[in-house]
């Protein structure tokens, strides 16, 4: 229990009559990689956004490393600074150079001295082979390169948890591989990741656990290999069979 990093209990969220989340329970342990799967509109993105408080919840409790971050009195900006997040697209700021993008939060939110932030930023860019683009604007980069920059931007300040929301779904197929390789490297390095994904093969390979979301609740969860190869619930089976 001591290494439980994220704990969601009874998360509810509706938009008018539309109940997107109907009481979701979900745990993520430290250094664990959890893949959220489910059809479009099953609430995966909404659930991820509730975790870093970009989406308010109607009911439920969210604990991050034991702290109740769903308490309305909590400093939301402070919580978000502890969580890295990458979305489908439009992650990078087009008016800032690549290195400025990567170091922005470190400088503004974490008050890291510029020299140190730049050094770390260049190191990370070098680790993904993009140090040559440090001074370029994001529009010079391919979609895959942009997503990789967005990912290293999210981890520059060593967040406790990394949220990835369909980071490859807006990419051309030939660019998906390089982004997944980076996520795999982070997972191998012990980063705690909660990701929504459509890439089942990738989920099976990288995720420790797969959580199937349908109709706003967790229908089935378990070790990746087991849920994807031998689903127990009829709804999971139906969803997976539609993908083949």
């Amino acid at each position: 229990m001591s290494d439980r990093l994220l704990e969601l209990r009874g998360i509810r969220r509706s938009f008018g009559d539309h109940h997107v989340l109907r009481g979701v329970d979900l745990d993520v342990d430290a250094h664990e990689v959890v893949a959220l799967i489910g059809a479009s509109g099953s609430g995966k993105s909404t659930l991820l956004r509730t975790v870093n408080l970009l989406e308010p919840i109607d009911d439920g409790i969210i604990r991050l490393a034991g702290d109740d971050i769903s308490d309305p009195r909590v400093d939301a900006d402070g919580v978000r600074a502890r969580i890295g997040a990458v979305f489908q697209h439009y992650n990078l700021f087009p008016h800032l150079r690549v290195l400025e993008n990567v170091t922005l939060a470190a400088r503004l939110v974490h008050r890291m001295p510029r020299a140190e932030a730049d050094r770390r930023g260049r190191e990370l860019l070098a680790s993904i082979g993009l140090d040559g683009f440090a001074g370029a604007y994001p529009d010079r980069l391919s979609g895959g390169q942009q997503q990789r920059v967005a990912i290293v931007r999210a981890i520059l300040t060593d967040p406790q948890l990394l949220l990835l929301d369909e980071v490859t779904s807006a990419l051309d197929p030939e660019l998906v591989g390089e982004v997944l390789a980076l996520v795999r490297a982070l997972a191998d390095g012990g980063t705690t990741i909660l990701m929504a994904t459509h890439e089942m093969a990738f989920a099976r390979e990288v995720a420790d656990r797969v959580v199937f979301l349908d109709g706003g609740v967790v229908v089935e969860e378990g070790p990746a290999a087991q849920v994807l190869a031998d689903p127990q619930e009829p709804r999971t089976r139906e969803f997976l069979s539609r993908l083949l």
Partner: protein
């Protein structure tokens, strides 16, 4: 090249022939285009133009500040901010509707009557009136620019832990400004000549100086001189606006989307 030059020459010739051939041309030429009067009135009008430039400078600064505040208020979300949103919306509705001349009269003659302030020069009240009116237009330009920034940008900034204020200052406004630069410059061009309207309050600017000189010489040439000076003043900005717009179009054509 040759064709366009020739066509321009022929066109100009025809236009000149039509105007200069009119029965009253000699009289009009004498009353509006007298070189001696132009030269004699120029120093005073230039002096007046200096006041217009001062008003323009302060008004431009004031407009950017007030318009940014109004635009920011209008983009606030959440029911708590309804009064502020409504106030900002009412402001833009009101001042985009009222003619500048009427605002000038009300501010220039009405507000000093409240005797809240020590006596201020007419140019001061003229500047305030111009700021009030132009802020309403420019605020709408800013708002359009802010709303054109993709919502994901805001989300990405907040996800990094940036506060609402930091997100506005560092992420949203810089992109919004870039989007609306041509529109803003256009408003600035319009303002460059509207600063001439402060003359109705008695401020001795270029227009008022021209009026005085006109009365003095009993000749309308000073008005033409003042008009030409305003054109000269606006011309660099107009060219710059065209250049910036063309450059942005070129950028978009190059497909530089995020």
């Amino acid at each position: 090249m040759l064709v366009s030059a020739l066509s321009t020459l022929v066109f100009a010739g025809l236009l000149f022939w039509a105007v200069a051939g009119s029965p009253g041309w000699a009289r009009v030429q004498q009353m509006f285009l007298d070189p001696e009067v132009a030269l004699a009135s120029l120093p005073r009008i230039l002096e007046g133009l200096l006041l217009n430039l001062q008003v323009l400078l302060f008004a431009a600064i004031g407009v950017v500040i007030v318009a940014l505040v109004i635009a920011t208020l209008r983009t606030l979300r959440g029911p708590v901010f309804f009064p502020l949103r409504a106030l900002a919306a009412g402001y833009t509705d009101l001042f985009r509707g009222v003619p500048l001349l009427i605002v000038l009269f009300i501010v220039g003659y009405g507000v000093p009557g409240l005797e809240f302030f020590d006596r201020m020069p007419a140019a001061f009240w003229g500047t305030i009136a111009i700021i009030l009116v132009y802020s309403a237009y420019v605020a709408e330009v800013f708002r359009a620019g802010i709303e054109a920034v993709h919502p994901s940008q805001r989300l990405a900034a907040r996800a990094l832990g940036l506060s609402h204020g930091q997100t506005m200052r560092r992420i949203v406004l810089p992109q919004a400004m870039r989007n609306v630069t041509p529109a803003l410059m256009n408003d600035f061009v319009a303002m460059q000549k509207d600063v001439g309207l402060i003359s109705v309050l008695g401020a001795v600017d270029a227009v008022r100086a021209a009026q005085i000189e006109t009365a003095h010489f009993f000749n309308y040439t000073p008005y033409v001189v003042a008009g030409l000076l305003f054109v000269l003043l606006a011309w660099p900005t107009i060219r710059l606006t065209d250049w910036v717009s063309a450059r942005m179009r070129a950028r978009e054509r190059a497909g530089s989307i995020v």
